[in-house]
Subunit: 422 residues, 2 copies
Amino acid sequence: MGLVVQKYGGSSVADAEGIKRVAKRIVEAKKNGHQVVVVVSAMGDTTDELIDLAEQVSPMPAGREFDMLLTAGERISMALLAMAIKNLGHEAQSFTGSQAGVITDSVHNKARIIDVTPGRIRTALDEGNIAIVAGFQGVSQDKKDITTLGRGGSDTTAVALAAALDAEVCEIYTDVDGVFTADPRVVTKAKKIDWISFEDMLELAASGSKVLLHRCVEYARRYNIPIHVRSSFSGLQGTWVSNEPTGDKVEQAIISGVAHDTSEAKITVVGVPDKPGEAAAIFRAVADAEINIDMIVQNVSAASTGLTDISFTLPKAEGRKAIDALEKAKGAIGFDSLRYDDQIGKISLVGAGMKTNPGVTADFFRALSDAGVNIELISTSEIRISVVTRADDVDEAVRAVHTAFGLDSDSDEAVVYGGTGR
Amino acid sequence: MGLVVQKYGGSSVADAEGIKRVAKRIVEAKKNGHQVVVVVSAMGDTTDELIDLAEQVSPMPAGREFDMLLTAGERISMALLAMAIKNLGHEAQSFTGSQAGVITDSVHNKARIIDVTPGRIRTALDEGNIAIVAGFQGVSQDKKDITTLGRGGSDTTAVALAAALDAEVCEIYTDVDGVFTADPRVVTKAKKIDWISFEDMLELAASGSKVLLHRCVEYARRYNIPIHVRSSFSGLQGTWVSNEPTGDKVEQAIISGVAHDTSEAKITVVGVPDKPGEAAAIFRAVADAEINIDMIVQNVSAASTGLTDISFTLPKAEGRKAIDALEKAKGAIGFDSLRYDDQIGKISLVGAGMKTNPGVTADFFRALSDAGVNIELISTSEIRISVVTRADDVDEAVRAVHTAFGLDSDSDEAVVYGGTGR
């Protein structure tokens, strides 16, 4: 039996009872002969409470100190978890990100892991301990300051440690049973996916699926670490994310799932002169403001005016900043006006089967049309089609597409395509 | 202007308002031209809440993990304090005990500082920062594990840093105005002491005064660091603790104050054979159980029986353990029985003037006698007399002695003694 890394999120360790439940599960893995490394998030609402405190003392908490503050959360949960395990008669030691050798860059609040040197973890394991590691945090390479990895950072910690320790698997424990073919809160007939490839999972994550974050899946793919997403509340098998299907029964589906996202807004730059360099100027202005954009669409220019419109989507939270940046550059770029719209939603269909199955795109648009959903923007990748619609239409659109592609749990109709390419 | 170390206790930073108030005070010191190092405790009840959580997951939390848990408390307060200072337009950086170079032994929950290497603090100060340091915590020299210093540990952190950084003064901010001639909750006429010697302060601390702990005063005396105990809620001068009186008006009082302590119990070993080695055997048994004892009194042996009684006092919390240890050694030692009494109190009169003023002891006993207080045990040092009485008599006894020695705030009668020795 090899080494497993298990990660438990805040909802799994929300209180003392949760911690004791998780401790039992960890001890089971140890009893089964595994070496066990556990990555743990802060308990329940701890992080939100700390953020609230920070806002009470300072409207703009500084990065370094904010990270110092937030990392107290995992310190509490990991120490309690180690105590709970020891109380079950097994040896456990907790380690901060710094002690675990999680080395990052110096970008506070959203640091990137640049190296993992888990010497102390190895020693602790070799001495028979279960090692408990604080998720979400590291130490900067140059200044030795405490850093945090940003949203979903504990998953990344877990995958990075799994890679550095050459683990068999990285188990991500959460409060749902795995990755579903759609958000079960929207599509009651959504099915749990038994296996999904890294590529499809990356597209789902990029398209609004919240179970795993893009960054964590990317890390796992790079180092080829299988991820097993499962519930900490049940003993059920969850979703395996890996290069190759695991087990006999699983084979790659044509369509992995339908994701949706209502966290974005759309900005349309109206009346852009249709000449070289205009789009570049617009997106340079946005990039200089450190705003990540998602979809971009440029309309065909009207021959009569020589003017075109360019639309793009971006996180709502960055809308104000983007508008300001563009207004400031208006003179240099030369456009008529800006339109801002935060009542949009994005629906994405993801599946590697798309590459070799023509007709997927047409069927997708047909399903939306039948449901009376109007499409405002379209963007595609090799294994994904995304459309932007009115926010109010999103739930209905997701259900329609989910049913159309035979993904509903009570559906017999596996959709079959012939030929190659779409 | 030199370097000052300021220490703020949990009651001074109990909430966001407290943190902002303390931040202003710190910035004042910086504006006055000082380099400022701040040692901060955990906010208000944080430590108690963490202990409560630990008890929920494990009846006997392990030392290493318990320390990891508790140190989250200062991590929160120090980061918030640094943010609050930055919000006032001054540069500040927070440092854990480990980052500040507080090196300890490996005795978890009550580690001792064995070295302080404040390189990062020096650098931060030289770069113009106010340095905020987590009190109460360090890192063990051998295993690099996080340790805590036990009760009152933040005061010790402050004095140790003051010594290592060669500070002008270590200011201990608290919720009272300084050290008083008696506990103001018992003696309403107690006066604030302007200056007190290290020696007298050590005796007061050992005798039950809670404002400063013995360990912290001892450290300050060893490195000759003046301590200024003062309120974080007022701008008043507090109590200076140092080798030499500060300022013109202060001169050493004959009597510094009256301390009392009701946290101890008394054990009497009855019917001990009056022969060499018996007392040694008794206190070896107690010492082997790692129990600290305070006063010891052996009665004159009764000639008829050749047996004597030996009484000693110790913290109530260790009473059970001491009784067990003695019962186990009963056969080897040879005594009749044990008596346990936790309804006792100790009153101590402290003052270097005692050495050169005869009659202090007699006046002390007279004051107790006039108040109808019966004395059960007596112990003395060069500058202290302590008696054990019934717990119920303690408050009355303290007030009587305080008045008798002219310490009451409305008293004109400074007690004067002639001659030398008592």
